[in-house]
C-alpha cells in the first residue's frame, strides 16, 4: 500500500498539508435492500458535458449529466492523476455501463437519470451548499444511494 510518507516529496508535502474536514456527529443512513437501490454517481473528476461551462480552478459548484451522456470532457485543474484510462473507457472513472448491466441483472434496482461531478481540487467544506442542492435533485429522481468516486 502506498502510504503518504512513502510518496515523493512534492506530492507528499501537498497531501500532508491538506486541511481535512472534521465531522463531529456523522450521519448514518440505513441502506435499502440491493434490489431497491436507485444509484447516482458523484465524481470529483470535474467532468461535464462538452457544452457546459468549464469548472474554475477551485470551483465549489457542480455539473449534472444524464445517464446516457458519454460525450464528456474534463476541466480538472490538477494534473497528478492519470487521464489515459478514462480517455480509453469512461467506465474507468464513471461506470455507467457497469451499473446499467447490474440493474439489468437485478443486482441493483436502477440507475438514476442524473449523475454529478465536482472539482476535486476544491475544499469540500466550500461544496456543502452545492452538495445539498445535488442531493435535493437526487431525491426528486427517487435516488436513495450515492456512489462516490474520486479521480
Amino acid at each position: 500500500m502506498t502510504k503518504i510518507p512513502e510518496m515523493p516529496a512534492v506530492g507528499r508535502g501537498f497531501i500532508s498539508n491538506l486541511d481535512l474536514p472534521v465531522v463531529d456527529d456523522p450521519s448514518w443512513t440505513q441502506p435499502v435492500p440491493a434490489n431497491e437501490r436507485r444509484i447516482s454517481i458523484v465524481s470529483t473528476a470535474a467532468v461535464h458535458r462538452r457544452e457546459d461551462k468549464p469548472f474554475s480552478w477551485l470551483a465549489k459548484d457542480y455539473r449534472a449529466f444524464h445517464k446516457t451522456d458519454r460525450d464528456l470532457v474534463m476541466t480538472h485543474v490538477a494534473v497528478e492523476f492519470d487521464r489515459s484510462a478514462w480517455q480509453q473507457d469512461l467506465n474507468t472513472i464513471i461506470p455507467l455501463d457497469r451499473l446499467e448491466e447490474m440493474a439489468s441483472d437485478g443486482e441493483i434496482g436502477s440507475v438514476a437519470e442524473e449523475h454529478y461531478s465536482f472539482m476535486g481540487a476544491a475544499d469540500p467544506v466550500t461544496m456543502e451548499k452545492s452538495a445539498r442542492q445535488a442531493a435535493a435533485r437526487m431525491k426528486q429522481d427517487g435516488v436513495n444511494t450515492v456512489f462516490l468516486i474520486p479521480i
Binding site: 500500500m1 502510504k3 503518504i4 510518496m7 515523493p8 516529496a9 512534492v10 506530492g11 508535502g13 501537498f14 497531501i15 498539508n17 481535512l20 474536514p21 472534521v22 465531522v23 456523522p26 450521519s27 443512513t29 441502506p31 437501490r37 458523484v42 462538452r50 464528456l72 490538477a78 494534473v79 497528478e80 492523476f81 492519470d82 487521464r83 489515459s84 484510462a85 478514462w86 480517455q87 480509453q88 469512461l90 474507468t92 472513472i93 455501463d97 457497469r98 448491466e101 447490474m102 443486482e107 441493483i108 465536482f118 476535486g120 469540500p124 461544496m127 452538495a131 445539498r132 442531493a135 431525491k139 436513495n144 444511494t145 450515492v146 456512489f147 462516490l148 468516486i149 474520486p150 479521480i151
Partner: protein, 253 residues
C-alpha cells in the same frame, strides 16, 4: 470526496466511496469506504475490463451490508504504482530554459508536423471509441499548437474564447494537446501504460518539448498566474517529483 459523503448521508442518502489515500479516509471517516491501492485516475481499476470494474463495484456495494460504521475495507487486488507516486512524473533533471526556445516558428512547425502525422490514427481512435475527451478548451485541434506557441515570446496572447481569459484557456489547451496524443497512441498501439504514455508525450514528443519551453517561460514570467501554474504543478507533471522545479517553491497550494 470523503467530506462530500457526510453531506449526502446527512440528506438521507446512503453512500459508499472508493478512495486512494487511506490515511485521509481514516481521518475523515466517511460512512462506508473501499480503499483502492491503484494509481489515481483509475477508480474502477482497468479500462475496457468490465469484469474487473464490476469486482470493484461489488466490493464497494458489499459495504452496504455493514450494520454500523464508519467501515473501511481494502480492495484485495493491487495495481502497482512506481516509486510511491500515484501517477507519471517528469524526471526532475528534465528542465528547459528560455534560452532553449530558439526560433518560435520552428518550434511551432515541428509540433504542427508531428500532430498532422498523428491525425489519421487519432481519427481512427475516435471512430473506434465513439467519443473523444479532446476539446475541453473549445479550440479546434489545429489551433492548439499555435495558441501555446503564442506564449513562448513571453507575452500573454489574446484569448480566442469569449468569456475565458488566456491563461485558464492555456491550461485547457495543454490538456487537450496531451489528450490528442495519448488517445491516439493508446488506440493505435493497443497499450494501457500511464508511465509509457507520460514518458512518450513529455520526454520524447515535440509537443512535450514545447510545453517544457512554456514551463520555462512561466518560471521566468512576472505574471502572477503564469507563475502560479508552475508553483502549483498545474501544467507539467511534477506533482510526484522528488523536489520542486528550480525557481519555484511547489508551495502554491
Amino acid at each position: 470526496m470523503c467530506g462530500l459523503a457526510h453531506y449526502f448521508e446527512s440528506e438521507g442518502l446512503s453512500t459508499v466511496l472508493v478512495g486512494f489515500v487511506r490515511e485521509h479516509i481514516e481521518a475523515i471517516k466517511p460512512p462506508r469506504s473501499l480503499f483502492l491501492d491503484f494509481p489515481m485516475g483509475r477508480g474502477m481499476g482497468k479500462p475496457n475490463d468490465p469484469a474487473f470494474q464490476k469486482k470493484v463495484i461489488r466490493a464497494a456495494f458489499e459495504l452496504f451490508d455493514a450494520p454500523t460504521g464508519p467501515v473501511i475495507e481494502d480492495f484485495p487486488e493491487v495495481i502497482p504504482v512506481k516509486d510511491g507516486r500515484m501517477g507519471y512524473a517528469l524526471p526532475p533533471e528534465l528542465i528547459l530554459s528560455v534560452d532553449d526556445i530558439g526560433d518560435v516558428d520552428t518550434v511551432l512547425a515541428e509540433v504542427t508536423a508531428e500532430m498532422e502525422a498523428l491525425r489519421p490514427d487519432y481519427d481512427r481512435a475516435v471512430a473506434a471509441r465513439g467519443r473523444t475527451t479532446v476539446g475541453a478548451s473549445g479550440l479546434a485541434i489545429e489551433e492548439f499548437a499555435p495558441f501555446v506557441s503564442g506564449f513562448l515570446g513571453g507575452e500573454i496572447p489574446q484569448s480566442p474564447r469569449k468569456g475565458m481569459p488566456a491563461i485558464p484557456l492555456l491550461k485547457l489547451v495543454v490538456e487537450d494537446l496531451e489528450a490528442y496524443y495519448t488517445e491516439t497512441r493508446t488506440h493505435r498501439d493497443g497499450i494501457d501504460d500511464l508511465e509509457l504514455m507520460g514518458k512518450w508525450f513529455w520526454e520524447e514528443s515535440k509537443a512535450g518539448r514545447m510545453l517544457l519551453l512554456l514551463e520555462a517561460v512561466s518560471v521566468a514570467s512576472d505574471n502572477r498566474v503564469m507563475l502560479q501554474i508552475v508553483e502549483m504543478s498545474l501544467m507539467a507533471p511534477r506533482f510526484w517529483s522528488e523536489g520542486p522545479l528550480p525557481g519555484t517553491s511547489a508551495a502554491g497550494w
